[in-house]
Symmetry: C2
Amino acid sequence: MKIGLDIMGGDFAPKATVLGAIEAQKALLPGQKIVLFGDKDQALPLISENGIDPEVFEYIHTTEMIGMGEHAAKAVLQKPNSSISLGFQHLKDGHIDAFSSAGNTGAMLVGAMFSVKPVAGVIRPAIATNVPKLKSGFGIMLDVGANADCKPDVLAQFGILGSLYAEHVYNVQNPKVALMNIGEEEEKGNVLTQATFPLLQKTNLNFVGNIEGRDLFNDKADVIVCDGFTGNVMLKLAETFYILTLKKGFKDEFFDRFNYEQYGGSPILGVNAPVLIGHGISSPEAIKNMVLLCRTMIEAEFVDKIKEAFK
Amino acid sequence: MKIGLDIMGGDFAPKATVLGAIEAQKALLPGQKIVLFGDKDQALPLISENGIDPEVFEYIHTTEMIGMGEHAAKAVLQKPNSSISLGFQHLKDGHIDAFSSAGNTGAMLVGAMFSVKPVAGVIRPAIATNVPKLKSGFGIMLDVGANADCKPDVLAQFGILGSLYAEHVYNVQNPKVALMNIGEEEEKGNVLTQATFPLLQKTNLNFVGNIEGRDLFNDKADVIVCDGFTGNVMLKLAETFYILTLKKGFKDEFFDRFNYEQYGGSPILGVNAPVLIGHGISSPEAIKNMVLLCRTMIEAEFVDKIKEAFK
């Protein structure tokens, strides 16, 4: 098993990424290896400083990188030797089994869509995120930004993708799938959610109906389906609350579970390989968990589960 | 000046509504009167118990009411003698200058749209809500539920309605108007926000561009424009956080300002009279502030300001 990691991605790269890789490596089993994409000359001193044998990693050396602010599609095209572009090339060619980066989200999305490509039958892959639940654990919300405009059949597929992710990667039995809406009754909503409701009913999912903004943290749903505009707005609003509680010094077990570090990144669900996007401000702990989530997705043969569901 | 109040509306009616009316009455000046719509036989004992002369109020007696769960359009049609229907009849006929209720939101919306009707030129009226700002004060977010699906020209009008409300009712000078979006750059967003951006630029508003979910509580905008689906989801999510901080016993001046009671209800902006919708769980304090907000809107000649802007 080879897990690709872009060590040039994120606000604190390459230090946070290399330190995260070191921590992740300690948790890996024999036969599981991390492949570092990026500037080897910057990585090696960091690895040596920490008393680690550089041979535990593989390296794809490059000094080229895609910046956080760059236009995603252009950058991927114009920088074939960037760490993200090379990562996707290796993923496409089967040299690595998963690829992860805390770098440019748009570039990760473009790379995933145009190199490894969507699974046959999946109309639009989606970015999923973890949402903490008040009682314990967390739910999966998708899409949170890959698709600003969605059609009903796309939204219904998000239900399938999210349900498979909850079931096979987080071992949730028969995940409860709900549609984010502005009322609980079937007829409530905008044109999109009104048309999506019957499509979700027709799936073999455990569809529990509509939920509202107030239900994000309760136990009504394990998988929350929404278009990428709504999901992105909700995610950023929820993050703001978490940051506020931190700033104001409120300590609480529930708010602690908003900490993105423990979730290890957001997967792009519906493409032909595990692809994980980390938060721009990823710490070594976040990078470590992103690499370990890659491992879990590979071990769960998650992409095969999607292929089976959509064939 | 006559301010109409539905005393049958809300989870704690008629007690909370009558007590709220009593408190509001104490703050009114000579010539300002509250007209109570509802069961006078229930109201009078509550008024006497509190040592108030019943003559301070006017009464439109009815025992009929529209329940919280009733189908709005049907109920308004089938219950012409309900407190909400009578309130709108009196508002339309000019017997009262504003109407407010903590009852069925849908019925309030239907009543506003079909009795007092939208101001000429306003395509779709919107429900606005107050959002507390971290530093101090609050912003205005609209729409939060009247229009689940919006066209770009409708969204641009929300900017005008919200700006007028901030300026004339809350005395905000040259209100900063922003578009809720999933990125700050002009080209970001879904089809709706991408098309709305240039329309807002063309207005004579102080349009400051796009903001994101994380900006809801900062000072980037005084007026936050969004479709009613997005606004409703955000509002309910924000309310959930407020309730959580209460439950967990976090005391904080900022979170205190989430308390809906102090804002006195959400106006339907863009109809031919001040119409205010209270929270279903409205306390006497909330009812009092809703009545006083009616007064402010009447004194500000707010509807005339809208008529001028759209003529």
